[in-house]
Symmetry: C2
Subunit: 399 residues, 2 copies
């Protein structure tokens, strides 16, 4: 899988519906077809593989995403899809000789556009699946070059028309993207809840002028305004105890971005995350104070909208207990924990019982070509997911 | 001319060797051919039109540039080329019936890539012409998309092979891009000298990571480092008296520029200008202090190179006096002044006697679609340029 969209430094570059992402979808479709799965593609490009041993019964869905960040890691998402596929294949073989099939069927999913680098918001496929995002809004979303999701999916042959399967539950395994497991020498993380996130899209409007000749007092420099926001956002995190608030600006686009032109506009994507909603509320208030200062100091207009937001919502405790029982039976060192990053399971847990599992990430390196997880940990993760999926297929973990 | 590459708001968008820039070159070539000029294109795409009444004698060259900034003004550069072309045509008609031709010939030029928005450095065509920039270095320069100057010029049919004319002198007229003339109600500015400029290319190197999950203390955020540089550069200007130092960052490119990825790299183009070299030296020292602080605070590496630099070099006093005599004869209100912006004449004055003239810019608006100069001022400018060129063709203004 990591050969598709491989980068020189050992990572992968597979943005939603780009040629490499399309190649992973084709590869997975063939793999599923050869394994006896019924393949379905829905209108937002989610790719499902179904194994039906109890016709008419709902499905336990396992999956994650095969797209990556630009110059991203090979494990983020891809490990979860491959683990899901192999888990389903193991259960297929396990149940083939069984006296009675389990009451629930199993399915695998590769969610469309989890990463959100090309099309925002992230976690798009699962957001449409769960009804959190209108399908047409998602399909009409354009990338920086003006290509819509609709056109991009049509172009790669993954604008599907299939019905989505009816679900009983969902399970996902993912690399931790943090270093708690590694530091404590544990193999499996049982995710109890997620950090909340507030993502803002901020526009700074100034006036285009000449970098050389325009008097400083007359400038309304959008890039200067944006830079003041970037620094203030970073320093906002220091107003709280360490680890309480994560802040960032990862994307900044400058117009017209010419060496000798004072920028007329800057667009940035601002990200606040915390496990404490009060902290996010305070941070939001401070952010508006920063914007007021920037307007005055840089002579620019600042407008903002919410790009994406999610609250702290626990994963179903029954699912955590089910996974805990599976891990203990396998004798693997584990801990309960939070996820700081968003995952497709963040959407899924709001509509069906959901289990979220982590395996360790070396040094917590994430969204980076040097991301790494050991083979032994990945294989242990598949064992756990298999046991979890078996239990889910037998109706455990329901509230 | 302003119909070529016109923008909705009344400006033009013609970056070096883009389709609109190519169209202006084709238009000018035809206009010159129809007017009896001998057209030449050199290897860096400079377009000359020669009128030879004294075979073997050198040329008085008049010109400016037809390229623009992205969403730039319609007068910047284009006015100077059109004024040069009409001046040469007037002199052609004037000298046609004369008893003896003037001792020096006349030529018109449209310099390649004065603006430098697509390919750096700016003033590229005149820099190659004057030997300040190696032709192959210029031709190998690539835009952000990886297209070289060589490929771009070949593509539009303006990679020429013609010899450049031998020159006796150069004259250029340009909109002021400042508001001194307008504020004082004067029509013509006689440029005595230029501000010095120091342009730096700065790279900030951090480490790509996850905006959500990476602990703040572990981040090495290239965009945060770049933003601290942008704000410090702007605020550096405030350490001096008003109008003494102009500073800016107009271009900032972030990698990978994904909403949920801490940037691994940021590249910016930094511009310092002053009429006082001591101020630039102090500013350069302060800049290095800022870089050291940024390295420490943001945990990033900062490297810089000089992208372009020019000192304060006076235009030849004989040329200023010649132009002053012409303006006074025409009875136009005028003043001696400095140019804050760089022009092709900034290069030319270092190799031949050079006259630089300004006409007013409404409100000093520059590098902006709303740039404006009144028709009456433009026509007065052509009258002055005609008189200046006539004198130059008769050998005046030589040291």
């Amino acid at each position: 899988m990591s050969a598709i969209g491989a980068t020189e430094s050992g990572g992968v570059h597979r943005e939603a519906a780009d040629p490499a992402d399309a190649a992973t979808k084709q590869w997975l479709r063939e793999w599923l077809q050869q394994g006896g799965f019924e393949v379905r593609v829905d209108r937002i490009g989610n790719l499902f593989g179904l194994l039906t041993w109890t016709p008419g019964a709902p499905y336990v869905l396992l999956g994650s995403h095969l797209d990556s960040q630009p110059a991203g890691g090979r494990f983020d998402g891809a490990y979860g899809v491959l683990a899901a596929a192999h888990t389903a294949a193991r259960l297929r073989d396990r149940f083939r000789g069984a006296d009675a099939p389990p009451p629930l069927n199993i399915a695998v999913v590769n969610w469309f556009n989890e990463e959100g680098s090309r099309f925002q918001p992230s976690m798009m496929g699962s957001a449409v699946f769960t009804g959190k995002l209108d399908p047409d809004t998602a399909l009409d979303t354009c990338d920086a070059g003006g290509t819509s999701v609709r056109a991009a999916l049509t172009d790669i042959g993954f604008a599907g028309t299939d019905e989505c399967p009816e679900l009983a539950s969902y399970a996902e395994i993912h690399v931790e993207q943090g270093s708690f497991l590694e530091q404590e020498g544990r193999t499996i993380g049982l995710v109890e809840s997620n950090w909340a996130a507030r993502k803002y899209r901020v526009s700074v409007h100034g006036e285009q002028s000449h970098t050389g000749s325009t008097p400083m007092t007359q400038r309304r420099d959008a890039l200067y305004g944006a830079a003041k926001i970037v620094t203030a956002v970073r320093e906002l995190a220091d107003e709280f105890a360490e680890g309480v608030l994560h802040t960032s600006v990862g994307q900044l686009t400058v117009l017209p971005n010419s060496p000798v032109v004072v920028a007329r506009e800057a667009q940035l994507h601002l990200d606040l995350r915390s496990a404490d909603l009060d902290v996010l509320r305070t941070a939001d208030t401070r952010l508006h104070e920063v914007f007021a200062q920037v307007r005055e100091r840089a002579g620019v207009a600042v407008s903002l909208g919410t790009a994406h937001a999610w609250d702290i919502e626990p994963y179903q405790p029954a699912g955590v207990r089910l996974a805990e029982a599976a891990v203990e039976e396998l004798g693997l060192p584990h801990r309960r924990m939070l996820t700081l990053a968003g995952h497709d399971s963040t959407n899924m847990k709001d509509v069906v019982p959901t289990v979220m599992l982590f395996v360790p990430s070396a040094g917590g390196v994430a969204h980076n070509e040097f991301e790494h997880t050991d083979d032994a940990d990945m294989l242990a993760g598949v064992d756990v997911l298999t046991d979890v999926a078996d239990r889910l297929c037998h109706g455990e973990g329901q509230p």
